[in-house]
Amino acid sequence: MISGNELIRAVRGPIILITIGTLFALDHMTPYGFQQTWPVILIVVGLLTLAGRATRSGPPAGGVA
């Protein structure tokens, strides 16, 4: 059986790709330019990393109760 952690790692690339695509589309079609919206990428990467940690088997990372 595939663990949640493996799944998160596998979908990380495509999800970042979709995010970047959406931001470029916003840049071209709405007043929200890429220079304003780029931090969204950091947030998405952060969330994906957090999700990856939360589903990791073995000893939990520091700070997780």
Binding site: E6, A10, G13, L17, I18, T19, G21, H28
Partner: protein, 447 residues
């Protein structure tokens, strides 16, 4: 073995469809579409990979870590660079020349055919030209007859094919209601794209003209009626037109109109525009990326594009503008110019001036007295203004970050505020001159 991804073949299919579209329907502004909608390729790609991963996961196959291969990442970065480059180019009005056109014409051989037709007409006529591909040159004359000389070029692999195509596309002058239609019937041939006809036309001067086509130049001289031209790709030259002129183009290297008595109305996309001695109103609406020149316009000029909005009451002098510069001399106001990034030089203007640019230097020389009311602002750029010695005005020039120079002397006073400065002064009871820049120097000089 890992299952190969679907994205490779799909990208190939997409590229094929794009090039095919480009070759078959040239009038579609494909470059503009791609530059606008390319991010959806990224989104579609991501969604596709996501679905692939989820399917693999549901079948309990081993999952790739990271989800994207190194090659794919490189391709995505390339796509982002090219896509945003195209978008930036399009936004600044750069167009790429058609390249689908040449590929077909490389094959086969060119066969030439020459025919002519004429038809007597009386009274005021409305003549419609329907010539899909090829140049049309029209001149007015005093004879009450329409004469058309056609030079048809057929590209084919052998003479019988060419002869057949020639037979399918006769030159016709027909009466259709109150209009006279001159057609070359190219769309009737089995390979319409391989035929092109150059027409040389003389017609009664009082005729009104309507031109339709998808590729080829229009040249109209000495016509007293109105002229209406719409084409997918054309250079248009109009000389000595008695009526109004309307030009609607999807692509163009040049629109030139000289000595027009009526209004001139230009719409669409293209490169250069040159208008001289126009007695009617001038309206330009669309994206023209080359040099725009207006000389001696007797009525209001209104120009509207994605980056620029210009209104001038009359242009006895000259306006020249391109992507980075705007120069105007001897204008009658009110003048209003709102633009994104241009250096602006204005000399001898009257009434009032309203000027706004996001990036660019502004250089103003009102010249004649009385001084017009001026409101000029730049987000980033230096502003210079030169005022005559005896002018009456009330000046307020402000820079938020930059220096304020007073070369005019009294009664203008300079004050420094934080990183910026202000110039203030009043001579007599004159109009208000407001000058504002967020970043850059402001300078007042005496002429």
């Amino acid at each position: 073995m890992r299952r190969r991804s679907l994205t490779g073949p799909l990208i190939l299919i997409l590229l094929g469809v794009l090039f095919l579209t480009r070759n078959l329907w040239q009038e579609i502004p494909l470059f503009q579409w791609i530059s606008m909608y390319w991010p959806f390729i990224l989104i579609a790609w991501g969604v596709l990979r996501l679905i692939e991963v989820l399917i693999e996961a549901s079948q309990s196959k081993p999952l790739p870590s990271g989800g994207l291969s190194g090659g794919e990442v490189a391709l995505i970065i390339l796509l982002c660079v090219v896509g945003s480059g195209m978008h930036a180019a399009d936004r600044h009005g750069v167009h790429f020349p058609p390249f689908g056109n040449t590929s077909l014409e490389m094959f086969g051989e060119q066969y030439d055919y020459r025919t002519s037709a004429e038809k007597p007409v009386k009274g005021k006529v409305h003549v419609v030209f329907e010539n899909l591909r090829g140049n049309v040159r029209i001149s007015g004359s005093d004879e009450p007859v329409i004469k058309v000389d056609e030079h048809k070029m057929v590209r084919a692999f052998n003479k019988p094919d060419a002869d057949q195509a020639d037979g399918q596309t006769p030159l016709e002058i027909v009466l259709d209601g109150d209009r006279i239609v001159v057609r070359t019937n190219q769309e009737k041939a089995s390979h319409a794209r391989r035929i092109s006809s150059d027409l040389e036309v003389t017609l009664p001067r009082i005729a009104a003209i309507e031109g339709r086509g998808s590729y080829g130049d229009y040249d109209v001289n000495d016509v007293a009626g109105s002229v209406d031209i719409s084409s997918g790709n054309a250079g248009v030259r109009l000389t000595n037109i008695g009526g109004s002129a309307k030009v609607d183009l999807q692509r163009s290297d040049m629109v030139r109109a000289v000595d027009v008595k009526g209004n001139v109305d230009i719409e669409g996309r293209g490169s250069d525009i040159e208008l001289e001695n126009i007695a009617g109103q001038v309206t330009v609406n669309g994206s023209f990326s080359g040099t725009l020149q207006f000389k001696n316009l007797a009525k209001p000029l209104h120009l509207e594009s994605r980056n620029t909005d210009l209104r001038v009451e009359k242009v006895p002098g000259t306006i020249t503008m391109d992507l980075g510069d705007f120069t105007g001399t001897n204008l009658i106001g009110p003048v209003r110019l709102v633009t994104r990034s241009k250096d602006i030089h204005l000399e001898d203007f009257t009434q009032s001036l309203e000027l706004e640019t996001e990036r660019g230097d502004i250089d103003l020389k009102p010249g004649k007295l009385p001084v017009p009311k001026i409101d000029a602002r730049s987000r980033s750029g230096n502003i210079d203004i030169e005022l005559p010695e005896s002018a009456k005005f009330e000046l307020k020039a402000t820079t938020t970050r930059g220096e304020a120079h007073n070369e005019y002397g009294a009664p203008i006073q300079t004050a420094t505020e934080g990183q910026g400065g202000t110039l203030k002064g009043k001579t007599g009871d004159g109009p208000v001159i407001t000058i504002t820049t967020d970043r850059g120097a402001v300078t007042v000089k005496k002429s």
